[in-house]
Amino acid sequence: MSEKQYYIPEGTYWPIIGSIGITTLLVGFANQMHGVSWGSSVMVLGFAITVFMLFGWLGQVVNESVNGKYNAQVDRSFRWGMSWFIFSEVMFFAAFFGALFYARTLSVPWLGGADNNVFTPELWNGFSASWQQIAFSTPGTVLQSGTAISIPTELVAATGLPALNTILLLLSGVTLTFAHHALRTDNRNHVVGWLIATIALGVAFLGFQVVEYGHAYATGLKLTSGIYGSTFYMLTGFHGFHVSLGVIMLTVILFRVQKGHFSSDNHFAFEGVAWYWHFVDVVWLGLFVFVYWV
């Protein structure tokens, strides 16, 4: 289509199906957490509807794109959309990083009496603030002054698996860029090869992350072991979740490349996924520095 004409899609049922799916999923999840027996089945049903919606909706978009219905303007709209979506994801992570910084540099020292909290330690007999020793009693119970128990856990070291994982992810960024270059020069075989390499690196990262969790768990660091455990698992967990999404998206792209969906100058889907992957990569660098290293 030409640049002079606007593209407007026809009506669609996918959004309402998506809403039904997500709502079902969440209602099931909430009930499952409250110990209602049908909770998990409803959750699975909602998940299935959501996945169905994603396949259907994205499938339709792919179809339209392959049939040349989109012009350059539509392509730019997608680009704006994807970039600001990624920005919103950045802000989502920012909330958790904020919690990490706040707890580590403010609230934990305050519990130990820093700053204007000179009297606070009266509530916590014998507690001395340090980042890795921060569980007093089981969180969620009623506060009881004078019952400070520190459960020492080792800080998860930055060297070893986290460092290795950093290298893996950085490498995957490079291989993905190679794939992109190959796509631009229309070298399909190289695209496939580099994409497979990228996916493999992502999967390896996830595998090591699981091993890493095993180690951490063994030293007594759990989601429930105070703020250190909370921030550690929530940050790395959400990141891992995003890596998994990225791997799935890359795999879809891999199939689409093999089906010949992309041309050397028109491959927004590829680029969108690549941006997403780089975003996941950058978040990891933040994690590596602030969760493991410093």
């Binding site: 606070t120 509530l123 916590w124 506060l143």
Partner: protein, 378 residues
């Protein structure tokens, strides 16, 4: 229907008897140096706003009246002036700086608690205040007074009651009276250490210019030096659940001599309480004392008749714990559980009696618990 017409009738009565002069339109000046400073700041900013408002709205209404089409006004076409924009950016900045200077001074002063001569620790509970005088060894709980709430409360007929209309006697302090007041000496710098045992509360006495969040797990501080003997009232100022509106604060500020006497009396009765806790009590004594403790401490959640508010607040009536083994009952009252707060700040005798009461009132058939049992269960 009867209810509604009464509401309307009493509303009319209210309006006709109401004297506006009695009701402050403005913040009180208060009785501490901080509250005076705050009042001055408040008035200063207020008047600045009034002046700006007069100019801005003056200009607006002038043009609304003078530049209307019906008067034949023809629209000018000017629509830009960098000079004007700069002017009305800079002038407000200057005004704001003028406000910020005294505000900063007051802020720094009120955060500096180092000059304190004595310390009172204030702990918020759902929904009452606990006061500790660490040096003097005094500790007590302050609840909303029953008389205060019952005087009007949900009984709509009381709206027509003479006391209410004239605003006299006990109803005067409707919702603002406690069963045991905080007592403080005049002309003394007092440091308040403020914390909470469950959710966030906020300890606020308007006349002191003291309002500070009570955060569970942290201790905040504030200070006041009261320069006038009198009774001062305040309320919890942070939403803390169901009875947030019913946890008032009453402070008696007394002369230093009276304060010393009060301290002596409190210490004596504390000693007596400890002594009585070593005795064996009769069931009747436990029950009658227990009823009082229950009504002021527990009925807020578990209700006067022990029916609770399921599912959030379980019933005590027919409760498995209240009819079961005493040790479990003591554990939950001493240490709390989820929404159930700990009550270990109460004395052994109080706890023994309230537990006995719960186990034998409302048709329950539990055992009797003695203060010595509580002591060993702690």
């Amino acid at each position: 229907m009867g209810k509604l017409s009464k509401v309307i009738a009493s509303s009319i009565a209210l309006l006709s008897t109401a004297v506006f002069s009695e009701y402050g339109l403005n913040m009180t000046e208060g009785v501490t140096s901080i509250s005076h400073d705050i009042y001055d700041l408040h008035m200063m900013v207020f008047w600045v706003c009034v002046v700006i408002a007069a100019i801005v709205f003056g200009a607006m209404f002038y043009s609304v009246f003078a530049h209307r089409k019906s008067k034949g006004a023809v629209a000018a076409q000017f629509h830009e002036s960098t000079k004007a924009e700069i002017l009305w950016t800079l002038v407000p900045v200057v005004i704001l700086v003028g406000m910020a200077i005294p505000a900063s001074k007051t802020l720094i002063d009120l955060e500096d608690t180092s000059k304190a001569e004595m310390t009172v620790k204030v702990t918020g509970h759902q929904w009452k205040w606990q006061y500790d005088y660490p040096k003097e060894g005094i500790s007590f709980i302050s609840n909303l007074a029953k008389t205060s709430k019952d005087s009007v409360a949900s009984d709509i007929d009381n709206l027509n009651n003479e006391n209410y209309k004239t605003g006299a006697t006990s109803v005067d302090n409707y919702l603002l009276e406690v069963d045991k007041r905080l007592v403080l000496p005049v002309d003394t710098s007092i440091r308040f250490l403020i914390t909470s045992n469950d959710v966030i509360h906020n300890w606020w006495v308007l006349d002191f210019g003291v309002k500070q969040d009570a955060n569970p797990g942290f201790i905040n501080d504030a200070w006041a030096k009261v320069d006038k003997i009198g009774t001062y009232r305040g309320q919890c100022a942070e939403l803390c659940g169901k009875d947030h509106g019913f946890m008032p604060i009453v402070v008696d500020v007394v002369s230093k001599a009276d304060y010393a006497k009060w301290v002596e009396k409190e210490q004596a009765s504390a000693a007596a309480a400890i002594a009585s806790a070593t005795q064996v009590w009769s069931k009747a004594d436990l029950m009658s004392k227990g009823k009082k403790v229950y009504e002021s401490n527990c009925a807020g959640c578990h209700k006067m008749d022990g029916s609770g508010m399921p599912p959030i607040f379980p019933a005590i009536k027919d409760s498995a714990i209240a009819n079961g083994i005493a040790s479990e009952h003591m554990t939950i009252v001493l240490h709390g559980k989820a929404g159930m707060p700990t009550f270990k700040m109460l004395g052994d005798a109080d706890l023994a009696s309230v537990i006995t009461y719960e186990r034998n009132a409302f048709g329950n058939t539990g055992s009797v618990v003695q203060p010595s049992d509580v002591k060993s269960a702690r």
